[in-house]
Symmetry: C3
Amino acid sequence: MTLTMAELAKALNGHLWGNGALEISGAAEAGQAQPGQIALATSAAYLQKLPRGGMALLAEGMEPEALGLEAAVLVGRPRLAMAGLTRAMDRGPDFAPGVHPTAVIDPSAEIPDDAAIGPYVVIGANVRLGQGARIAPHVSIGRDTVIGRDATIHAGVRIAHEVVIGDRVVLNLGASVGGDGFSFVTPEKSGVEQIRDTLGERADLREQHWTRIHSLGGVVLGDDVEMGANSTIDRGTIRATTVGNGTKIDNLVQIGHNVVVGDDCLLCGLVGIAGSARIGNRVVLGGQVGVSDNIFVGDDVIAGGATKIFTNAPAGRVLLGSPAVKMETQIEANKNIRRLPRLYAQVAELRESVMKLIENTARDKS
Amino acid sequence: MTLTMAELAKALNGHLWGNGALEISGAAEAGQAQPGQIALATSAAYLQKLPRGGMALLAEGMEPEALGLEAAVLVGRPRLAMAGLTRAMDRGPDFAPGVHPTAVIDPSAEIPDDAAIGPYVVIGANVRLGQGARIAPHVSIGRDTVIGRDATIHAGVRIAHEVVIGDRVVLNLGASVGGDGFSFVTPEKSGVEQIRDTLGERADLREQHWTRIHSLGGVVLGDDVEMGANSTIDRGTIRATTVGNGTKIDNLVQIGHNVVVGDDCLLCGLVGIAGSARIGNRVVLGGQVGVSDNIFVGDDVIAGGATKIFTNAPAGRVLLGSPAVKMETQIEANKNIRRLPRLYAQVAELRESVMKLIENTARDKS
Amino acid sequence: MTLTMAELAKALNGHLWGNGALEISGAAEAGQAQPGQIALATSAAYLQKLPRGGMALLAEGMEPEALGLEAAVLVGRPRLAMAGLTRAMDRGPDFAPGVHPTAVIDPSAEIPDDAAIGPYVVIGANVRLGQGARIAPHVSIGRDTVIGRDATIHAGVRIAHEVVIGDRVVLNLGASVGGDGFSFVTPEKSGVEQIRDTLGERADLREQHWTRIHSLGGVVLGDDVEMGANSTIDRGTIRATTVGNGTKIDNLVQIGHNVVVGDDCLLCGLVGIAGSARIGNRVVLGGQVGVSDNIFVGDDVIAGGATKIFTNAPAGRVLLGSPAVKMETQIEANKNIRRLPRLYAQVAELRESVMKLIENTARDKS
């Protein structure tokens, strides 16, 4: 897990300054770096915290000579360098090689020779695991599910039956893929159906018992999908709920039945996407964003935190607010609301002025 | 799992057209149906996608003659027919009959002869399971909990001690019933208590350490309750937290301690109901709705997505917004906010006009 | 688990009235108390529901003589007394003493003699558990994690590697500590980065693939931290995500990577705190509150339910709304929005009056 400064410079496509033979045992913020650790100082605020005689990661344009360092790697895009640096340093959790003797694996399941399968894993009939699978303790995988190469499945993940998962997927602690969709129907038209038709008016209220519409469709996750801790994706009704290649899902995100999420999206913590919504490619939804059922969010939409999207959103739009509107419209609306006390005062004053003018006019005429 | 078109027509209380002997192996949207699958085309948009010579589910009033089908079932309420059709087709996850040898079951627990209990299930002292229980892998059930007939408990569900669960309940992947309530107290009045009394004013700020009020009440779930993946219901303080018969709970829903939810409600994804709130019967809360602690939401209330209910809501009300108001009031408020730029312009113009009028009047008088 | 009224009075630092030798077998609300249970009647509404001849918990100033009770304990701060009473009565879940034979514990882990470790627990290399640890079934603890004294870890909790946990911590059902942070970077500047710089403007849209920034920092939880069911705390990037002493976290709360939460905070259900935010001491965040990434929330801030905090909040502030503003400002804004229909009418009327005045003036001059 150790590497030299020269190796790091090469791995990050950066420039080496100073002693390339120094070994890096870890990384830390400038000011907290221990001997042997590379100090991160890619923004100016950290420069003065750098230990003299140490190693540092710097942004291009910074001047290592003046900093008294022994070695530095300079990079053009520091955030990107962080990806390479942290990947190089990450020991990750332990996945002991081989299949733990306590794993309960159906004889019909296909398990590759190089799989690492932890204690108390349960794998159902006809499951197919790709090469390089790493499965942590207490994971369960239902019948007929297929998982691609190099999957990393953390402790306590639940994968139901008939799920299809691509290559290089990471499912974090307690994530759940393939639970029942939330789809129910009443024998007669329900109150909710009435309101959708009438925008708020309802006929008589009556008893309504909910009958489940079963979820025959599974879930399809593309390549390079990551899913955060305790997030949930429901199975589809007739066709699969799908998440496209490269999409990253944070913790406690809910994706409803029949939803289609495109490629390379970011869905932040506590986002909820209701049933049958369609999300385009490269969409970014901030924390606690909500998307109504059956609507369409176009490619490249970005929605700020807590935005609630009730209606279709065109491609490329930047959204904010509840209901979601263009970001600049929402910022303007917030300003307008803040200025209301002054507006109320102005109108009160105007009313008085106008009343006086009317009185004056009347007096003049009389 | 196969059935004929004649059997399906009978099961759905629909009309058969054409060859009732055709066997159905699955269901798909029109346009995606494979040979042997029944195509779903109950709305007009799907009609032209129907494969000639196939089977279809149609809405009453559609004309199968013109569509070149071999057989069709026509139904009056298509959404309801979907419930019957998908139930008939659902293979579900595998629940192997019998008790898996790895299940750890306290000798004092009552397990029915027909129970299907999966690997690594842990069942505590004095637990009573009803007939027909199906318990997936990695489920844990705490001491003294009682579960009714025909329960379906999916992988990784957590049921704590002293929980009472009715018949035909479905608990999805990772759901948690009976965790500690979120109930704490400080030795002196806390900042939150002060603010509740004063609507925002606080005396001096001071140290406050939180002491737990323990949760002696359990949880009671009625018959036919369903609970989504990774949702949570806390145990009550002195009396049980309760959810009424027929209520359906989506994924990632939080129900606090002492909450009482009535019968036949729908609680959508990421709904949060704070401690001691009472929810009536047939209440529908859209995704990400919040309900404050200690308030009452009347029967038949429907709240749109992301509505935040801070105060009691009368029966039958349709709510929207934060704070929740009548749906039509919120729609009107949204319009009024959007129109504010024009209002500001009008008032500015008025101020100018009035100033001129005042100047004119003054000049006229001088 | 039984105690006498005299013992209870002493434990709660309250006054005994009547027969101190009566044994208490449980507690219930007044009106629901069975024989042997102490009835809770610390607010006036419950007084008339008290059973004659029974036991009650009363507030100081109430008069037990008039109530026909056999014994009562009178307390000065009833909510605080509830903490003592419920603690005394709580049997909790069963934690059988000793290490269950099915637990898979790495030989290098340090397990104290008095630990209670349930079935199917998995403990990794070099884990150190403190005295008095109680670990329920299906818990997993990753390598090099250290947990202090008297931990209570409920069923299905996931603790990743390199986590440090203090004394007397309670982790509820399904809670997850130490999953990967949600930190990704694109090779070129992403749409989100552009918008942050420009407040909404974007250059050309383009392909963007997300590369993970790995999470080398762990998680540090202080003493007396409690964490609710299915809540999640991510590991930090370079330094640890930390939660201070005495902070209590409700169910389904998400705490992002690098977040620092202070001491004695309350974070209610479905709160989301985005990456690198800093939360002071004694902060109370109501249900569904959101905190943006990289901002600072000062000591003693209290945010009402569903408040969305996008910018730094000074110490002691009471917040409400989205975006968060002072509570009184938000209440005023809500009023101002409700009154808008009247304002629109007034302005329309004013416009008419002013137009008439202008016409009159013009006519007078002509």
